[in-house]
């Protein structure tokens, strides 16, 4: 009788672990993924502000220069070569004292690092800054 009870208890713990562990792992992976996406978003916001400031203050003379500045401003968690950069107006320098909008987009790889080992779906994050 005792043996039966004990074995039942062991089985219960195993089932509990089997149910809880995937959920826990999922929670941890989700938190990591969310943190990564949020980090990328913060990066893009800062980089778009840097690029916009360069565009309006005349430190960068063309769209290529402005986008290069944005790529230089992101940290290593963003693959700068995959960063999409758009400016409005598309031709820079813009007329004096007119607004310039810099939009940066980045496809964040989901459930994988950006090392490219595991290619999965992506989630596109974008940030925009307007300055005049």
């Amino acid at each position: 009788m005792k043996t039966t009870l004990l074995s039942k208890q062991s089985g219960g713990a195993f089932v509990e672990a089997a149910v809880v562990t995937p959920m826990l792992l999922m929670l941890i992976v989700s938190m990591m993924q969310f943190g990564y996406i949020y980090g990328v978003l913060t990066n893009l916001r800062g980089a778009s502000a840097v690029a916009a400031r360069m565009a309006i203050l005349g430190s960068a003379s063309s769209q290529v220069d402005v986008c290069e500045a944005a790529k230089n401003a992101v940290t290593s968690i963003v693959d700068a070569s995959q960063l999409e950069c758009q400016t409005s107006p598309s031709v820079l320098p813009a007329p004096v004292n007119s607004p310039v909008t810099i939009t940066l987009s980045y496809a964040v790889p989901l459930l994988a690092s950006n090392s490219g080992v595991l290619k999965g779906p992506t989630f596109t994050v974008s940030a925009r800054t307007t300055m005049q």
Binding site: Y38, T42, R45, G46, A49, A52, R53, I56, L57, G58, S59, N97, P99, T101, R128, T129, T130, M131, Q132
Partner: protein
């Protein structure tokens, strides 16, 4: 066991609340600062002749809104025009933007709801960001310094470009050297400032009559300060002086004949006994046009 669970859970939840809400507040603060910076830079771009407060306000609001701020967040503490002097923002009176204004201040206040801190009865956090942008005065490497050298003196020395010559307090009639380019030469402080930083004004041209400054005060100290600047492009190099008619005794007027570009080589003596040596770079120099620097941002 239950006691331990309660304690651990409370500490854990408090830590999570702190980490999540503070992290979000930090990120939001950064974003708010970008909005304030953008709005202040935009506001200062609209400064100029014919600008009034409502124009500045509309530009500030447009840019702040484009970056995700609301009108209420900006108007809680209204944007202000003012002047930026000696590292300080001096606000104009009320909703005014006088022609002398060279700076715009933007303050933004944002209240964000908390997530986990709700558990500790903290339902919201208030964030503030402030930025001041200003237009620095025009500057140029080779505008004009308020110092005149008599044309007759240079001709007498037969100095040519690349050659050297000296001037001293004891030569010529009475006190000479200082010229009043902007009507403030009687102030020793103003003379020193302009000698060290140039006066950039396109209205100053050959043929103009200018008053002479009196006294030898500051001449030796200013020359020494110029020599002491060892940072490229070196203040003592390529200075533009006026070449004038002869100075009279005491207060008088001289006429600007042309400009010369010189390098200051040395300075000795003090008071009326000052003596400076120069190298003539250009006999008939064209002062550079003033350069308007970019808007600058201070927080």
């Amino acid at each position: 066991m239950f006691f331990m669970f309660t304690v651990v859970t409370t500490v854990l939840l408090t830590s999570i609340a702190f980490a999540v809400d503070m992290g979000r507040a930090y990120d939001e603060q950064r974003q708010l600062q970008i909005v304030a910076d953008s709005a202040a830079l935009a506001g200062v771009s609209a400064l100029g002749s014919g600008t009034n407060y409502s124009i500045i306000l509309s530009v500030v609001e447009a840019i702040a809104q484009a970056n995700g701020a609301t009108i209420d967040e900006i108007m809680e503490n209204e944007p202000r025009c003012g002047t930026w002097e000696r590292g300080e923002f001096i606000e104009s009176n009320g909703r005014s933007c006088p022609s002398s204004a060279n700076a715009v201040q933007v303050n933004i206040k944002r209240t964000i709801p908390t997530r986990f801190a709700h558990l500790m009865n903290q339902h919201s956090m208030t964030l503030r960001a402030s930025a001041v942008a200003y237009l620095p005065p025009p500057e140029g490497g080779n505008c004009i310094r308020p110092f005149g050298i008599e044309d007759s003196h240079l001709k007498k020395l037969s100095v040519s470009e690349g050659g050297t010559f000296s001037v001293s307090g004891s030569q010529g009639m009475g006190n000479w050297g200082k010229i009043d380019l902007n009507g403030n030469a009687s102030s020793g402080e103003e003379y020193t400032l302009l000698m060290l930083s140039n006066l950039c004004d396109e209205a100053i041209a050959p043929g103009n009559f200018v008053s002479t400054g009196t006294g030898n005060a500051q001449i030796d100290q200013v020359f020494q300060s110029l020599l002491d600047d060892l940072t490229p492009p070196f203040a003592a190099r390529n200075m533009v002086f006026a070449v004038t008619t002869d100075f009279g005794n005491g207060n008088s007027e001289v006429q600007i004949q042309r400009f010369i570009k010189v390098n200051l080589l040395s300075q000795e003596g003090s008071g009326a006994g000052w003596r400076a040596s120069f190298q003539l770079v250009e006999w008939d120099a064209e002062p550079d046009a003033p350069v308007t620097p970019s808007r600058r941002l201070v927080k």
